[in-house]
């Protein structure tokens, strides 16, 4: 069913989403307070360890958003449904924002621990490449006017871009790097696990809110585009 024939999002659903967004942001604030107050200074990094509670959840959720891009893009190529293309685009935008945030936070962490804001380390470089791919993905969507072609090309770039995620994740194992191993409950001190988990889950809620909100806006944008296309077609016929 074309998007312009679908019922508009009910107001109650919009209100629920906004409330969900508020709760997600409050949960994130609460998780950050929990992490800051309950974690002792790290033996090597001291209090700088607390940056982990924002940097690592941002990175994990960027990966999660790109996983959504890959699944939705594959679904689009398989079924050809427009809603999968719009979901992939929404997740790609949110993933790019989270990746940019990850790089910025990593840079703030790197300066006092490594002595530099940036270095061409495999983890940092592969993350920057990931961001560039998805900035390109979003630019591509802006350039291509034909909706079908835009969706097909975007799906291809989205899948190729998401394939970079395992490379970023494994880069600290595959190559010599100054970046520490992947932070996960199995690699960090048990005293930091609760704070890390709480922040990762709260950030996930925020990212889900962002993706749904962007997806709904994309649906409305597409409906407007379809109406404009139809009006142009009718105008051409009458003219």
């Amino acid at each position: 069913m074309p998007l312009d024939q679908q019922a508009a999002t009910p107001r109650s659903s919009t209100r629920t989403l906004e409330w969900f967004g508020v709760v997600a942001l409050l949960a994130l604030a609460g998780a950050q307070v929990l992490g800051i107050l309950t974690s002792p200074p790290d033996r090597d990094m001291g209090h700088l360890q607390k940056i982990m509670y924002v940097h690592v959840p941002a990175a994990w959720n960027a990966f999660m958003a790109f996983f959504v891009v890959a699944v939705a893009s594959l679904a689009y190529l398989w079924k050809g449904r427009e809603r999968h293309d719009l979901l992939a685009a929404a997740a790609a935008e949110v993933g790019a924002v989270m990746t940019a945030l990850t790089l910025l936070l990593g840079s703030i962490w790197g300066r006092p621990t490594w002595g530099v804001w940036w270095t061409w380390d495999p983890r940092l470089t592969s993350t920057a490449v990931l961001l560039l791919i998805f900035v390109g993905y979003l630019a591509l969507r802006g350039f291509v006017e034909d909706a079908d072609r835009r969706a097909q090309w975007s799906a291809a770039v989205g899948i190729l871009g998401a394939l970079n995620v395992p490379i970023v994740y494994m880069s600290v194992k595959w190559w010599r790097t100054i970046h520490q191993l992947q932070s996960s409950p199995s690699t960090v001190d048990p005293e930091y696990v609760v704070g890390l988990r709480a922040n990762a889950i709260a950030m996930l809620l925020v990212v889900v809110y962002f993706i749904v909100k962007r997806y709904r806006a994309a649906q409305v944008e597409r409906m407007a585009e379809q109406l404009a296309e139809r009006a142009a077609l009718e105008g051409g016929r009458h003219g």
Binding site: K50, I51, R111, F210, R216, A217, A224, A231
Partner: protein, 48 residues
């Protein structure tokens, strides 16, 4: 003040600036999309 406190504060400020900034952008995107739809509906009604 603990060592590196400035970097910790900067990290949390950047996080919230990014998240709130993007949330505000999304509100703008949704509003513009709605206006675009209303304009397109009017134009489509006029041309039919």
């Amino acid at each position: 003040m603990a060592d590196g406190m400035g970097y910790i504060v900067a990290a949390y400020v950047v996080t919230w600036a990014g998240l709130i900034g993007y949330a505000i952008r999304l509100v703008g995107v949704a509003r513009r999309a709605q206006e675009q739809l209303e304009r397109a509906s009017r134009d489509a009604g006029g041309s039919a």
